[in-house]
């Protein structure tokens, strides 16, 4: 497993306490999991995605990731409607291990864009990981 210093944490996106990342793309927000999350989970073998069109509250579970070690819930860092899901992950869950930032999980139309600004910056997230 990686040391905290070895983690790849881009500075131009935001993070949640549950280790998801969020990146604004026009009116939409793309959601994925952080390098820390994929590293902790280990080899991901199955991704359960929501249906496009489904709506979730902030911090509500919207899917699950199954690794060889455990099954983990993934939580939506901003409330909104799922506009698109990355179906590539269904056949190739290893993409999340290979590049967790290039390989987003869902695209959300947020109900309240302020929630995006309330997420953690790279530095805040790093501080949280260091405890």
């Amino acid at each position: 497993m990686k040391e905290i210093e070895e983690l790849d944490l881009p500075g131009d996106i935001y993070y949640s306490k549950e280790h998801e990342w969020a990146a604004k793309d026009g009116d939409l927000i793309r959601i994925g999991i952080s390098d820390y999350a994929q590293d902790q989970l280990g080899d991901i073998v199955f991704v359960e995605l929501p249906e496009p069109g489904a709506s979730f509250e902030r911090n509500e579970e919207f899917g699950t990731l199954e690794s060889v070690k455990a099954v983990s819930e993934i939580y939506l860092p901003v409330s909104g409607e799922i506009v698109a899901v990355n179906t590539e992950l269904e056949d190739a869950p290893e993409l999340l291990n290979e590049n967790p930032y290039l390989n987003w999980i869902v695209e959300v139309r947020p109900n309240d864009i302020d929630q995006y600004d309330e997420l953690l910056s790279r530095d805040d997230y790093l501080a949280m990981l260091k405890g």
Partner: protein
Amino acid sequence: MTHGPGTNGLILEEPLLWEKGKPGRVAYSLPHRDVPEETVDQNLLGDGPEFTDLGELDVVRHYTRLSQWNFGIDTGMYPLGSCTMKYNPKINEKMAATAGLASAHPLLEAGLSQGILKLYYELEQFLSAITGMDAVSLQPSAGAQGELTAMLMFAAYFRKKGEQRTKILIPDTAHGTNPASAALCGFTAIPLASGKHGILDPTAVEELMDDETVGIMVTNPNTLGLFEEHIREITDIVHSRGGLVYGDGANMNAIMGVVDIKRCGIDAVHLNLHKTFSTPHGGGGPGSGPVCVTAELAPYLPVPRVARTDEGYVLETQSAESIGRVHGFFGNVSVLIRAYSYILSMGPNNLKKASQLAVLNGAYVKARLLDTFDLAYDRPCMHECVFSDARQLPFKITTLDMAKRLIDHGYHPPTIYFPLVVSGAIMIEPTETECKDDLDSFIEVFQAIAQEAENDGERLRQAPVITKVRRLDETQAARKPCLRG
């Protein structure tokens, strides 16, 4: 270094059955036919199954070799936490194979099945006595089905009372089957975080328990091997809000004859007979998960129920409030016979002593490995203890590496990465049937492995090295499973 019983040995290769054999080989011979040949209705004829032709010796060697690759409690120590892989005395196997019981046909009428019905009836009485509960159904065929049965009963109970309850509290140390069983009954699982000592905090229950909540599912001792000390307070809170308490009996092996489950305020509990009451398990069955309930819930128990009348034992199928049948016939009967034989051969004092020794052994392993591994929650443990790989991670050695290395020494690895609340969990349940000498050997081997983690990490990352197959690629097996030859 210290070495367990594992050594290199001659391991014989064996192909899959359909990769061996030759057309025309047979493993049977029909007896001389002394009746005239008859023609059979063409509609009843068809091609046989597509299967290779094998001789008797092919088949015998095949399964004997497979059995030699296997590892079980009769081979060596199997400290798989929360699974209670204890030795199952052979007397119970013998009893389960008794012709009169093993050959009893499930469709035989009650008048001709008095023996097995009496066994059901008395086993129910025994399980009542052991748990303190009022009524029992032996039908559920596994722990998870016992959970589901009880959840269906809870749902029926609230339906009868005209209450709409949709949520249920599930501690974060629970087995994954708990939320699954609740969800099948339409309840939403509300996660309940353990307190900082690894046990439930009554105030957390107080905050979440409302009149839309069915109640709580509690495993006691919990999966950290810790006794839920506040159980009475928690059950009082749940009852005061009109809820019910479910007890998951997965860890009953720690408390037989010691804890009165009804007096803890539990309304329904399942027992894993295959774990606690002596049936070899671990390959996915057969299991048995009887449900024991209070008198208040008894009317909802599955039918048929066995009853004693002046005319003998009968199966009662009529009950207005019953949730109905949850299993064909009467559950997994051979497991019930083993449990009955185990209880009778042990007697109440020895059952209690078994639990006491299970706890003593768990505490002994914990105490002796305390300096070697990071202990997740430093509290008196029950029958199992949960360490982690926190002290080995700086050397880039994980729980998985150490578990695999144990195999080289002839030990089945403990449960790993569960419970989820402990990162890199190593959950050791030695059970009461391991003697001190064997526990000491296991402990010393595990200590030596921790030394290797510091000095010779590569050896652990390569482990196991002396097994028939080396470390399996779990990732590839999960991502691209090969399910047929």
